[in-house]
């Protein structure tokens, strides 16, 4: 069976839904430009032909922002954006796979699916971040990241536009850190072994 051929120091995987954009932009701003981690963003959103979100993120960072196509290689220092209407999986052979199977929590991409995949692929080198949202997607995946030895960060429900999603996570795990608008940089950087 395949050995883990990943050549990255770690994977920071971020899940968000309703009300998560502002803090996501703060996260993007906080990433050091020479960071070798990969960042994977799973946001519930509608298909838009030109990917407005990708352009929006790219305008704020020097790291390449890539909307993932099937079998795209996993390369250090990149920001990967989950493609609308596909689940996004990480392969140990160091590439992504897309998956068009059933929706999970009414969502495709589902945050749980990608969190679980990252946990199984990257183990303790995983940092999972769950942001604002009005859906229970992400909580069980974040728990698995923790169980596999990775780190977990949850947006403070009291400082989230939609508190349901981060609260669901706090109901089942005690995360390593709590994220609030304004403290993103000091919370995030220590987890990137930077």
């Amino acid at each position: 069976m395949a050995q883990n051929k990943l050549t990255i120091p770690g994977a920071c995987i971020i899940g968000g839904s309703a009300g998560s954009l502002d803090i996501l932009l703060e996260i993007i701003d906080a990433i050091p430009p020479d960071c070798k981690y990969i960042f994977i963003i799973i946001i519930h959103r509608k298909k838009d032909g030109e990917s407005v979100l990708r352009s929006l993120l790219q305008a704020r960072t020097k790291l390449p922002v890539i909307e993932v196509e099937d079998k795209d290689p996993i390369l250090p220092g990149r920001i990967y954006l989950a493609t609308p209407d596909y689940h996004l999986l990480l392969e140990k052979e160091s590439y992504f796979s897309l998956d068009y199977s059933e929706k999970v929590h009414f969502s495709r991409p589902s945050i749980d699916v990608s969190f679980e995949s990252a946990a199984l692929c990257c183990g303790e080198a995983t940092v999972g971040i769950l942001l604002s949202g009005a859906n229970e997607d992400g909580a069980s995946g974040l728990k698995l990241i923790q169980q596999c030895g990775g780190k977990t960060i949850v947006q403070d429900p009291d400082f989230s536009d939609a508190s349901y999603m981060p609260q669901k996570a706090l109901d089942i795990i005690k995360p390593d850190a709590i994220l609030r608008p304004g403290n993103v940089k000091e919370v995030l950087l220590p987890f990137l072994q930077y």
């Binding site: 099937d70 079998k71 493609t83 596909y86 999986l89 392969e91 140990k92 897309l98 998956d99 199977s101």
Partner: protein
């Protein structure tokens, strides 16, 4: 063993399962993308309520019915009518008119699952008055979905979305003219089906069986590893006439495959390629 490991298979267990499936029924899933097939197995553990991999494996080894069920559940059968309407708009406006001069138009929908896309194409061909001289081959690895293609019955609840998709392809008719609603199901008109040939075909192990002007294989390659993708693309190349069209899923690509140099992108975003040599 940690609690979460009990309902998730590890790499060795996955390998064992895939070997058993090959041994017992000849289906070779070993070149499927690992993370993806593993997720299907984990999903099976949950929906069939197996407390451990050992239980799943035992049942698989001792029940032929369960074996069949596992094969059906490992393959993804999710599909839509006129999915990515821009692709079908392009088919309607640019590609289908170029097919009109062929005496017989042969189209292959490879890995078509429950056949929504096959019916989508049949509708476009009927509207172009070409359906009568088409042969539409609809194949899938999964025998149970083939029966559905032959029946032409789809959930009524999906029709609103399909009707919107149809309009976006430039469809001018009332979409509901194409089906009869009964209870929760929509049964599509028999006239769409007369030129369809539905059969099982396994892209991993079966060979080419005809020459086609058009091959559709959308959102199937994503489940394969790169090596198998290359092998299947080569199979398509051997099955496609010169000047024929190959249509892949919107996030699939052939540019890194061995057949790339023989193909020219007709529409980059729509993932339509034409064989040029």
């Amino acid at each position: 063993m940690k609690s979460w490991e009990r309902n998730m298979v590890n790499d060795e267990e996955l390998e064992m399962l895939l070997e058993e499936l090959f041994r017992a029924c000849g289906y070779d899933f070993t070149s499927y993308a690992k993370a993806s097939i593993k997720r299907r197995v984990n999903r099976l553990m949950v929906i069939d309520r197996h407390p451990s991999f050992a239980e799943l494996f035992y049942r698989l080894k001792h029940s032929p019915e369960y074996l069949k069920h596992v094969v059906e559940q490992l393959t993804v059968n999710v599909t839509d009518m006129f999915r990515d309407p821009a692709v079908f708009k392009m088919m309607r406006e640019d590609i289908i008119p170029q097919l009109a001069s062929y005496p017989v138009i042969r189209i292959w929908h490879a890995g078509c699952a429950t056949g929504e896309e096959v019916y989508s194409m049949a509708i476009l061909l009927a509207e172009a008055n070409l359906l009568h001289k088409c042969l539409i081959y609809a194949t899938d690895i999964n025998p149970s979905v083939i029966i559905n293609i032959q029946k032409g019955i789809f959930p009524l609840s999906a029709m609103k979305q399909y009707s919107e998709n149809y309009i976006q392809t430039g469809g001018k008719k009332d979409f509901s003219e194409y089906y009869t609603a009964k209870y929760n199901w929509a049964k599509f008109d028999d006239s769409l089906r007369i030129k369809m040939i539905a059969a099982t075909h396994n892209l991993v192990s079966d060979r080419s069986f005809n020459e086609f002007q058009v091959i559709f294989c959308r959102n199937v390659l994503i489940y394969f590893d790169k090596e198998l993708q290359d092998k299947v693309l080569t199979l398509f190349d051997e099955s496609l006439e010169n000047r024929g069209f190959l249509i892949l899923g919107s996030k699939e690509n052939l540019i890194f495959s061995p057949i790339a140099k023989k193909y020219k992108a007709v529409a980059n975003k729509e993932k339509i390629w034409r064989k040029i040599s």
